[in-house]
Amino acid sequence: MDFSLSPEQKEMYDLAIKFAKNEMIPFAAEYDEEGTFCEKQIKKAWELGFVNTCIPEKFGGNGFTLLDAVTIGEALSYGCMGMYTSIMCNDLALTPIVVGGSDEQKEKFLRPFTESPKLASFCLTEPGNGSDAAGIKTTIKDGGDHWILNGQKMWITNGGYADLFTVYCTTDPELKHKGICALVVDAKSEGVSIGNKEDKMGQRTSDTRAIQFENVKVPKENMLGSPGDGWKIAMKTLDHSRPLVSSIALGGSQRALDLASQYAKERIQFNVPIAKHQAIQFMLAEMQMKIEAARLLIQKAAWQADQGIQNTIAASSAKAFAADTCMQITTDAVQIYGGYGYSKEYPVEKLMRDAKLIQIYEGTSQIQRLVISREVLK
């Protein structure tokens, strides 16, 4: 057993941290305040190979393992959780193609993402179905040589900038999971309308929108697998995406701890830096403990996925634990900063707002517990 990262992974982490410090942190507060989309960072990140980590070498990608990807993810999220949500969104949208597509589809849909900085969105959630993902109401009908797509998707990351959507839909809502299909949809198709950017509490740089599909014609060859394979593809995608999403929480947690410990050494109360007070020391220790545990869980879940081992327990545990940890750590960071922490002049309140979303998207912390308990009770 070896817990160390490879020299290349250490370099990837260092490069990503450098990028986070130089290209993300200096803009994070402003983008958050204005709700500016981090297009510039995505483009630069793409040039350095940080985007589309899931694309295999065969189709023009870098051939990263998921362990590589979570290592990069942690470092970039250290820069800004919102920006990294938008950066990793492509992995979420393209992984269904990687796990469920034919070689022909992979060549056709994945390769362009390696040639220019395009964006893709993962469209699962609907206004009426979030946690109950199998209750999809977006439907497809056979239109002869094409499918006809109708329905509405909600909270779609990068929705306003995507070139391609991976849409989950059903041939018949009554069939529940068994009717679900995964469809690759060109964002420029006729009948696609994009809603306004949501005004969110946190992760405000990432673009989040509702997408409406009205009689959108989608070529037959754009379906991943066969009708009804969608649920399986979505579940396999989650095995990959959960560790990656967890890495966002981990990066944010580490940032909060670094800021809080630095501040604790500088802030003087009762004539000593507050870091000399045991109350603060214990809070910092608690943060470090949980970060350590979250990192190991994430690495294990990623490693299992790389080895082809079913990672459901580790992946859901990582997601729930890292997200809840991030919420607590960022909240405590604000606490350590005191009044200053509550002010937008200091970076920690943003971390707290950004953290909240991670407990919600990609399967809420409650859904992860449901998944874990199902495995326990099997």
């Binding site: 020299p7 370099e11 260092d14 990028f19 040039e47 350095l48 190979g49 940080f50």
Partner: protein, 262 residues
Amino acid sequence: MNIFVCVKQVPDTETKVQPNGDGSFIETSSIKWIMNPYDEFAVEQALLVKAANAGSTVTVVRVGGVKDTEALRTAMAMGADEAILVEAEDNLDSYSIAKALKGAIEKSDKTPDLILAGKQGIDDDCLQVPQVLAEMMNLPSVAVIVGFEQNGETVTVKREIEGGALEVYEVKTPCVLATNKGINTPRYASLPGIMKAKRKPMQQLTLADVGVSADDRRVKYSDFQLPPEKPPGKKFDAMDEAEQQKVVSEVVGLLRTEAKVL
């Protein structure tokens, strides 16, 4: 062109530096090493020269500990073609390092057309190695350069001196140039670059291989210690407009009478 870049591995600027037990150096066990920031400019310049001169190669050379090879790997991930590592302790003096670099360059199968290095290492801040190396190799040198233009075998470089003034030098290759911030913007090593660097050749030599022995040490450091803590300063609140005049004249007075700096 055969371009050589001398790089040093130094503690990350954010690393906490502590003297070691006997004060002979700093505690290196938990240090995070990075490529000397000034050397990044040298690597970038080498890559720019390589791009402008078809068929060029960039060889990075480093003298230092072999446990971490961060600096060389980063240089190769940025685009350097190959690396030479001369194994040595991390607190070698400038003279020994320059002599080892000379030995390594001469031992390679390439005759240098251009040797680049950062103007100084941010560890010992000596600002010596490029010039010492040039003298040892009997080559011209220009240090602290912030501008570079090449015209065949002639390069025109700008050297920054006091007050931001620039000395413009014209020098023929081969020569040694020491880069300063401002000459270029170093590229990031890309992730594909990191993967490629894995397969690039890295030759490892010993100090004996390059003709350096303990007798070559000229500068010896001892008694490393933390700088004395300053006594806490005086802090005045002048957020209130009414206080400002009083506070400022008090501080200026103290600068004159207590600190004696005016």
